[in-house]
Structure formats: C-alpha cells, structure tokens
C-alpha cells in the first residue's frame, strides 16, 4: 500500500476518527474561551500524545490547532474579546455587527473565510513543502547550521514589538537548551548531578509552563473573573443573518488577498497569525477604496481577518516539514511532539516518513472541513461555553497542567520545571518580551549545535566554510536586511514617543 492510501485509511480507524472529532470540537471550545488560547490547548494535549500512535497524536494536535483559531472569532464577535490573539482584528467589524443584531451572520462569514483560508494554505503546503525539502536535501552541516542560526535571528527580530527583547528571548531559549548531555561527546552540562537532567530540560513541562501556567498566573492577577458574560442570539432576525450570494461575492476578493497574505506570513518563521490578520485587515481596508465602513460592521473586515489567520495554519507547516524549522509557537510544539514520536522533521521526512507527511496534510484538511460542519451547526452551543466563569475554569486547567507536566516522564522534577517556566513566561508577558522565540530556539538549538560542531570538526575549527558558502552568505544578508529594517522601525518609534509627549 502506498503511503498516501495508508495515511487515508488510518482515518477510517475509529480511534483516529473519534480523536479528530473530539480534537476539532475541543479546539473550537478552547479557542472560543478568552484566556485559553490554541497554544494552551495544544500544550496540554502534548503529554497525552506520548502514549498514542503517531497518526492519532498528529490528528489530535492538528485538530486542536486548526479549529482553535476559528474558535477565537466566536468571543471576538460576541464579547469584543478575542479567544485567541489571532482573532484580535476580527473585533473591529465583528463586534459592531453583533451589536447591530448580525452576530450569526458575522460568525458564518468568519467560518466561510476561515475555511477558504485554511484550504488555500493546505494546497500551498502540498505544492511548496516537497519542493523546498527537495532543495534542502542538498544541504550539509554548514548550510543546516547557517539556516538554523538564520531562524534564531529571524524569529528574534520579527516576533516581538522590540528587536532587543525578541532576540533576548531567543538567546535565553538557547541557554536553556544547553542543559543536559552534550550531543557529540555526552559530557554532562549544567545537570548539577541530577540524572533526570541528563536528557536536558524536558520539552513538555517547559511548554505547558510557558504557555498555559503563565496565562493562568496572568488571570490570577485579576482575581479570576466570576462574571458570566451576557449576550443573546435568540432575538436575531434570521433573514438578515443569512449569508447571501451577494455577500459571498462581496467578500471573495478580500478573502483571496487575505489568504495569500496569511500564507506568506505563515511561511516566514516567528511572525504568526496575529500579525497576518492585522495586515490582511489593513490591506482589505486600503483595497476597498472608501474604507469608511470598516470598523462599523463591514463583513469584509471579518472575512479578511479570519481568512488570513487561518491561512497561517497550513503555511506554518511548510518550513516545519521541509526544513525542520517551526513557523510559530504551535508548530514548535508540534515539532517537539513529532520528535517525541521518534519522527525527525526536516527534508528527510519526505523520504523516510512519507506517511507522516500525508497524515499531516489530511489532518489539516479533514480538521478544516470538520470545523466548518461543527462550526456551522453548533455556533449557538459553542457560544454558550463563553458563559463559564474563569474562577472555575482556570484552577481546573492549572490542575491539568500539574498532572500533564508529571506524566511526561513520571518525574516530579518536570512539575518544578513547569512551575519555573510558568513564572518565567508570566514575567516575559508582563515585560512585553515574546515567549515564542524562547520555545522555538529551545527546539532548534540541539540540531544547530550538532550541525555547527560537525561543520567545525570537518574544518578543524575553521569558520572559513561559513564565510565562503553561498547559502550562509545569502542568509546572513537576509538577516542583516531584516535587522536593519527592524532597528529603523524601533528607532522611529522611540523618536515618535517623545514627539507625542511634547505635543
């Protein structure tokens, strides 16, 4: 049986199919609840995947990821509070639509746009990833080390509001990754005599702490809200909330443009769905000519934002699968989960594990289609989940975090790592230091060190191969350009602040 048929048949197995349905449904719910992001959903699911077969674990994680982004639009439209940061731009027109009694229409437009964006990016993934991987197969240790160092800088430079803070976060991730046995000689590094640290800091508690516990700590600063969110879809006029052919025609061009923007952003490591949705929203507003209706309940605003953030999902898998470089925090988590399953992402995955690649393609596609079905018929019950007060939700999630961190290796040290990572993530969030570069760099540091030391061992310590290699020189030039542009942006911003104060 060829790998594609094998992957397709796996979805016929009850365990895999039920996992897909559950993951999509849970992703929608978690994405919809403000404060519980897709990152948290995927982070909490990773400990469970350790004990699942590869196809089932991929279906679980991708189902949560794919549907969670759309779930974020539900609370953005109904409550004026995005369930996930990626849906922040949906608020601009989604909430005004809800106030005009058009919440269901906004949710349906959001669903159609999400479906289009997601399918668009999956097609792009299928077309581009194998070609990119084919090119990357020619890479030796010099090119691999250069590419991973390039990722380190690009993620640091592009992922935060401040250049220095993004790079600082990435550097901290690299330091944390040096804990454990050295990958070439096996020398213990910074283990302080603890055998449980010989394999390094465990990835599961680190990500559970950085994403889930940090968010819960942040909620605790507000004393865990006890209020029940109030909204009603019962009084809506059904006729006005129908999505007509005219509406579809109206949103078609913004959706296509937004999907292209989202996919392009998704391919670049470290930028993510939030920026993609804001860029697509801005583009739709500019392209409309008269943008006065935007911000007052224009369906094109909702459609552009949602198609862009969902287009990021498939596109982030292009660097993840082809190069082994995670496109954003969630694909970093997925990459780690694949490694836990014994599958190493990178160009060789297309040769050594083609079935895994097809499972990822099909999971993305089926999760998207299932999201559309569940999202269309279950919008009202989904909206009901927004009424759960955080005082009950957050402590329960914290308990799941503790159990999840422990089960990864049946070791209490992982609970302490999770706690430390949670506090670190909380401090980073509060000081506007992005957390995603830390996790992504933590994951890519081991292959970077292996490639770097292989390259340097071959050249007997000489850096000349790096200075004469066309790939490393091109990547250095790209980093220099990105660095210069971001530095210029930061300096402009710094000058703008005192000027505003003077005015």
């Amino acid at each position: 049986m060829d790998p594609f048929t094998q992957a397709l048949f796996a979805f016929g197995e009850p365990a895999v199919f039920i996992t897909l349905i559950c993951a999509t449904g849970i992703g929608l719910i978690i994405g919809a609840i403000p404060g519980l992001s897709v990152n948290i959903a995927v982070a909490l699911a990773v400990p469970l995947t350790i004990f699942m077969p590869t196809d089932q674990s991929l279906v679980l994680l991708i189902g949560l990821y794919g549907s969670g982004i759309f779930g974020g639009s539900v609370s953005a439209i109904l409550l004026n509070a995005p369930g996930t940061p990626a849906s922040a731009a949906t608020i601009f027109d989604g909430y005004p639509m809800a106030q005009q009694g058009l919440a269901t229409k906004a949710l349906r437009v959001s669903l159609i746009a999400s479906l289009y964006g997601a399918v668009f990016s999956v097609i792009l993934l299928v077309l581009v990833a194998p070609e990119l991987a084919n090119f990357a197969l020619r890479f030796g240790p010099v090119e691999i080390a250069s590419l991973l160092l390039f990722t380190f800088f690009v993620i640091g430079i592009l992922s935060g509001a401040s250049l220095a803070k993004g790079l600082l976060s990435a550097a901290v991730g690299m330091v944390l990754a040096t804990i454990g046995s050295d990958p070439m000689l096996g020398t213990p590094r910074f283990t302080f005599g603890q055998t449980s640290l010989m394999d390094g800091l465990s990835y599961v508690p680190l990500l559970v702490g950085l994403f889930a516990l940090a968010e819960i700590l942040d909620e605790s600063t507000r004393g865990f809200s006890q209020s029940i969110q109030k909204f009603s879809l019962d009084s809506e006029d059904r006729e006005r909330n129908r999505v007509s052919f005219r509406d579809l025609k109206f949103i078609s061009l913004p959706v296509i443009r937004a999907s292209a923007i989202g996919s392009a952003i998704g391919i670049l490591p470290g930028i993510g769905a939030t920026i993609a949705s804001f860029l697509a929203y801005g583009d739709a507003k500019r392209a409309s000519g008269d943008g006065s209706s935007f911000g007052k309940g224009d369906v094109r605003g909702v459609a552009a934002s949602e198609s862009a953030n969902n287009a990021v999902v498939g596109a982030t898998f292009i660097p993840t699968l082809a190069l082994g470089i995670p496109g954003d925090a969630v694909t970093a988590i997925l990459l780690g989960a694949l490694v836990l399953q014994g599958v190493t992402p990178g160009p060789l995955i297309f040769i050594s594990n083609p079935q895994v690649v097809y499972t990822i393609y099909l999971s993305l596609l089926f999760a998207t289609l299932l999201m559309a079905v569940i999202g269309y018929f279950a919008i009202r019950p989904l909206a009901m989940t927004l009424r759960i007060p955080k005082i009950y939700l957050m402590p329960s999630v914290a308990l799941i975090c503790i159990a999840g961190a422990y089960v990864a290796r049946n070791n209490m040290i992982d609970v302490w790592i999770m706690l430390g990572a949670g506090v670190l993530g909380f401090v980073f969030n509060r000081t506007n230091v992005p957390v995603a570069p830390l996790l992504i760099t933590f994951i890519i540091t081991k292959p970077f060190e292996e490639a770097l030391r292989q390259a340097l061992t071959r050249s007997e310590g000489s850096f000349m191969p790096f200075l004469t290699n066309p790939v490393s020189l091109t990547l250095t030039a790209l980093v220099a350009v990105a660095f210069a542009l971001t530095l210029r942006r930061d300096l402009k911003r710094r000058h703008a602040v005192p000027n505003q104060k003077e005015e």
């Binding site: 600082l168 550097a171 910074f190 605790s220 914290a398 503790i402 209490m412 060190e449 770097l452």
Partner: protein
C-alpha cells in the same frame, strides 16, 4: 526602574554567572574525561555562544529601554499571581509526599477559598470530581499512575 530593565539586568547577572562559573566547570569535566585522538569542537562552544548572546541582547534591552515609566502594568495584581504561584509550589512539594488525589483536592479547595468563588456547589463538585476524573483517565486510559496517596 522599569520591570523590563530589571529583567534584563537579572538575565545579565545570570549570564555572567553562567559564563564565569558554570561553563568553565563543564570545560574542566571535559578535560578530565578526554576526547581521544581526533579533533573535535568541545562541549563549551555553544554555551559560550549562547551566554554571549544573552549578555549582548540584555545590554541592548537596558540601552534601548527608558529608565523610568509607569510601573502600573507589571505590579498590578502581582499579589494574586504570587499567591497562586505559592499554592502551586506547595502542591508540587506535597504531591510526592501525600499523593496526587489529596493534594489536588486541597489545591482546588484552597484556590476556590482564596479567590472567593461564589457558587459553593460548583466548587465542591469540581474539587471532588476533577482530581478523581484526571487520576482515573490517566491511570485507566493511558496507564500512567500519578503519585499514590500514602494517606488513604
């Protein structure tokens, strides 16, 4: 002083300790173990590189961040977070000693009391049911035993 400057200075101090004390210790261990007759790059190369990057970017944060600004955002509600982190710390400390079930019941009960959850029956239901549910799912479905209850 702004919280991000404090964070950068703390990371700078940590990087100095890392590069000045911990990395040389790894180098000494490696010298004791030996590397054989072939040329190889030592295990301290990456730590030195990574520590150096932390120093550079921490200094960059210090240099590019204004000295003073409103501290409202960082300190707002910090007591609540410290309290919650404290409860998690005590839970982690007690978990291997008295077992997952009693400690998680205690964790939820304390959090609901401290943060003044309004509806007592939801609290009671969650406090009693969630730990058992988690324990049973992990034990029966995934065959992972959480730390046993020594008291029961």
């Amino acid at each position: 002083m702004r919280a991000d400057r404090v964070l950068a200075l703390v990371l700078l101090a940590a990087a100095a300790l890392y590069l000045g004390v911990l990395v040389p210790e790894v180098g000494r261990q490696q010298t004791a173990l030996g590397t054989g007759d072939f040329y190889t790059v030592g295990p301290t190369v990456l730590p030195v590189f990574a520590g150096g990057l932390v120093v550079i970017f921490a200094l960059a944060v210090v240099a590019t961040t204004p000295r003073t600004a409103s501290e409202l955002q960082f300190t707002e509600g910090l007591g609540g977070a410290a309290l919650f982190a404290g409860v998690v710390t005590v839970t982690a400390f007690l978990m291997p000693r008295i077992g997952f079930l009693p400690v998680s019941v205690g964790f939820l009960a304390v959090v609901f009391v401290v943060f003044r959850a309004a509806t007592w029956w939801i609290c009671a239901l969650l406090t009693l049911a969630l730990p058992v549910l988690l324990d049973q799912i992990l034990r029966k479905v995934f065959l992972i035993p959480l730390p046993g209850a020594a008291l029961f």
